[in-house]
């Protein structure tokens, strides 16, 4: 990028920074597979830290989202969100796109999420978002500070309220014992 220094150079600096910022947000460019993004993240981290073994996905923030009744898994990049609120909006949008589908065969073909169930979705009455952390434990989403969540979340699973009740006590215990930064 050429920078022309004129008496407007301050404005040009600002435009350049905005340009860089906007460019960094372009989805899918350069055309490298996101599958590869995680691989590259692993390579860089291991060469930086000098360690020789690393599990892919350890540093990358793309996590799978699975849901009861859904015939397939989806994925989100946690880096794209700054708060639980943003994440729950995105999950809501993603899950509202379930229609009466034929995939998966014997799964309930009437698993249609309408408005009111969506509202219940992340309020915890019908469905509960949970996640698997680095230690392999299943935790309720929202219990720890956002940054800590992004750091430790390996995968997300939207469970039915009844499935998730067993989680609450363990999650609470773990939180109490954790030291918050």
């Amino acid at each position: 990028m050429k920078v022309y220094f004129t008496h407007h150079d301050m404005y040009i600096h600002i435009y350049i920074y905005i340009y860089i910022y906007i460019r960094a947000q372009v989805v899918g460019w350069p055309p490298v597979r996101s599958f590869r993004k995680n691989m590259l993240a692993v390579q860089k981290s291991s060469t930086d830290q000098g360690s020789t073994e690393k599990v892919p996905g350890g540093n990358a923030t793309c996590v799978k989202v699975s849901m009861v009744g859904a015939p397939y898994l989806r994925k989100v990049d946690l880096k794209n969100y700054n708060s639980y609120h943003e994440l729950s909006d995105a999950l809501g949008k993603m899950l509202s796109s379930f229609t009466i589908g034929n995939c998966g065969g014997s799964h309930g073909t009437k698993d249609f999420l309408n408005e009111s169930r969506l509202v219940d979705l992340l309020n915890g009455t019908d469905y509960v978002p949970t996640y698997e952390d680095k230690d392999g434990d299943w935790m309720l989403v929202g219990d720890v500070p956002w940054d800590m969540f992004v750091e430790s979340c390996k995968r997300l699973r939207i469970m039915k309220g009844t499935e998730a009740t067993g989680l609450a006590p363990r999650a609470m215990e773990k939180c109490k014992n954790r030291s918050f930064k």
Binding site: G28, R33, T52, E53, R74, K93, G105
Partner: protein
Amino acid sequence: MLRKASSFPEEMLEHVLSFITSDKDRNAVSLVCKSWYEIERWCRKRIFVGNCYAVRPEMVIRRFPELRSVELKGKPHFADFDLVPDGWGGCVYPWIAALATAYPLLEEIKLKRMVVSDESLEVIAKSFKNFKVLVLSSCEGFSTDGLAAVAANCRNLRGLDLRESEVDDPSGQWLSRFPDSFTSLASLNISCLGAEVSFSALERLVGRCPDLKTLRLNHAVPLDKLANLLRGAPQLVELGTGAYSAELQPDVFSNLAGAFSGCKELRSLSGFWNVFPGYLPAVYPVCSGLTSLNLRDANIQGADLIKLVSQCRSLQRLWVLDYIEDIGLEELAACCKDLTELRVFPSDPYGAEPNVSLTERGLVSVSEGCPKLQSVLYFCRQMTNAALVTIAKNSPRMTCFRLCIIEPRAPDYQTLQPLDLGFGAIVENCKDLRRLSLSGLLTDRVFEYIGTYAKKLEMLSVAFAGDSDLGLHHVLSGCEKLCKLEIRDCPFGDNALLANAAKLETMRSLWMSSCSVSFRACKLLGQKMPRLNVEVIDERGPPDLRPENCPVEKLYIYRTIAGPRFDMPGFVWTMNGDSV
């Protein structure tokens, strides 16, 4: 003549047809006359469906009752770059269910960019007694539970290839589900799996399958175990290593080098995650016989990389990261005269500044030194028209040219001109060009060249290019063999699309995202062309809540005899005469 055709013995024609395997030839045979159509359809064994929504499974089954091999593709190519929202479609289950009932003797299923559930895999595992080959390329939606079902039930499995698929793998135990009596495996590709697989199960499996020719491991298989595997399978032709690092210990090294030396048939290598360069010399014994080397996941740099590549004098295909730099490509050009395919991937695609010295000069060297070069995929940060013209002159036999200049709309860095002339030279000189991907600063001019010269072009990928509808019009009206066109972030709108509506029925598909096609034009197109599915993909909500002249977010148009599909998620609308 007609009398002669009908008195030709059916059995003889069938016998002749058994030698004709290419889909295009088979399709041509079926158009000769009604009796040839009938004879051909009864003896067709393999089918390729380039778009799973172009036809319904029942239609395939009705026409071809004796299939043994089915290949399907689902999502459009740009799904690889996150441009197709999750949930769009491409679910394979309806196909699997139909195939299970119709073809109990089915042997092969090959899927690309499809959503495959564990349930689908279970149906496959239990429905086809003679099932031999499963290829899941860039698929998703399944876990190792599905793989376990395949392992446990497919007694005659010869190939299991999961290339680039996203697999949920909570358990590495699925490999142990292959029974001890199972020995028919010839090809296994698990390189995409994230978690560890049971190594002892893997070792036993490899040891008892004498026909195993292809073995692509995942990163979790440690280097010190690789030698054992190789000794159990010295007949391997294609190998993908796991993580290629360990503490440098002389006995581990000599064990590994010895094991590699024993693999006299090895022609293809890949893998090489987390390379510890001290172990690279262990593969030197096999380098001279290699025809294919895939280092796209390898963090090998500098002299180590050049040394490795320059020993592979028989190389035909090289995939590598841009750590190879111009200097490495010069060496490649000097050493590997049989090179036909080169892919150079970016090690740091999102960095603002170049981290390596890889420029247009590297590609020019290769085009100069490698007269058989036919297929190029090249990521770089600068390019000139002069370089492209030189490459075009050096490589008239190029069939696939994909250039990605990382900065969108980057001009010729020396003249600051658009790269129209450079790409124009490519399409003019490379008369057999079938696939082209453009990048850099481009005006409508480049599309004029493409429409004029690229008469054999089948697939074109365009991003951040062009000035007006004229660009799109040149391509649609000029490229006679165009099959797939994918466009993003270009100022192409309604006029070119509507004026060339008939062309769209001669193509497999057209993808346009972040362009200027209005909702009104989409509706018109849908009404005018009943044999096209015009899908508007818009995550902002229903397009009829916005003004009609508002551009749609994404548009996917494909020809189909299946009519509109019924498995669309909430953010996809099909434009049809009645549903609009």
